[in-house]
């Protein structure tokens, strides 16, 4: 069964450093998402991406964050200058056609630890 994959599974970085989290969505999917879950808190929406542009973003997704689909298979989340409060589990998700299926498939997550 096709699945969303994410690398790395765990990333440790120092405050102020840039990180790139990578995701490979399911191959025929057209809608892509990033969510995050700070330890002990709820899963929060960050951004949705469709047709090579951001379709929606949350207040969390400020200028420090960016997303890219560089090569037609990967979907990346970049944090330019990490802060301690960026420590969280980051989930990538994809959907074949959201407006028909209303299904988002999630990856296993990347745990980001900012020290």
């Amino acid at each position: 069964e096709p699945e969303v994959t994410q690398t790395p599974s765990h990333q440790v970085t120092q405050m102020g450093q840039e990180v790139i989290l990578r995701c490979v969505p399911i191959s025929n999917h057209l809608y892509f998402y990033w969510y995050r879950q700070i330890l002990g808190q709820k899963v929060e929406f960050l951004v949705s991406f469709y047709n090579n542009e951001i379709s929606e973003k949350s207040e969390i997704f400020d200028d420090q964050f960016s997303v890219e689909r560089p090569d037609g298979s990967n979907f990346t989340l970049k944090i330019r200058s990490t802060k301690l409060e960026d420590s969280a589990m980051y989930f990538c998700a994809s959907s074949e056609d959201w407006e028909i299926s209303y299904e988002q498939y999630f990856g296993p997550g990347t745990r980001l630890t900012v020290t």
Binding site: Y31, K42, V43, Y50, S58, G107, P108, G109
Partner: protein, 113 residues
């Protein structure tokens, strides 16, 4: 604004017992409603969804949920729990004009043999 409340942080049941996990939502129109399960070290797996039609929906792994508009609820049920059902369960709400999901805080299910 949409919101989701899962009143139970932690539930413990015996294997073979029935299960009901509660979810209440806040949304002005008919929402899209979802239940996801997260096992340790795994991503979120979709159990079932509701967006229209029959208010009782069947999902994978023997789960079902019922949409009750009058109570703004979408509770998840299973008649007989298996030890492998131990996990964290998340209720989520969406809406027709957006593809973002709003999640509840989750309910951790523990199953005793």
């Amino acid at each position: 604004a949409q919101s989701v409340t899962q009143p139970d942080i932690h539930i413990t049941v015996s294997e073979g017992a029935s299960l009901e996990l509660r979810c209440n939502y806040s949304y002005g129109a008919t929402p899209y409603l979802f239940w996801y399960v997260q096992s340790p070290g795994q991503g979120l797996q979709l159990l079932l969804k509701y967006f229209s039609g029959d208010t009782l929906v069947q999902g994978i792994k023997g789960f079902e949920a019922e949409f009750k508009r009058s109570q703004s609820s979408f509770n998840l049920r299973k008649p007989s729990v298996h030890w492998s059902d131990a996990a964290e369960y998340f209720c989520a709400v969406g809406a027709p004009d957006t593809d973002k999901l709003i999640f509840g805080t989750g309910t951790r299910l523990q199953v005793f043999p």
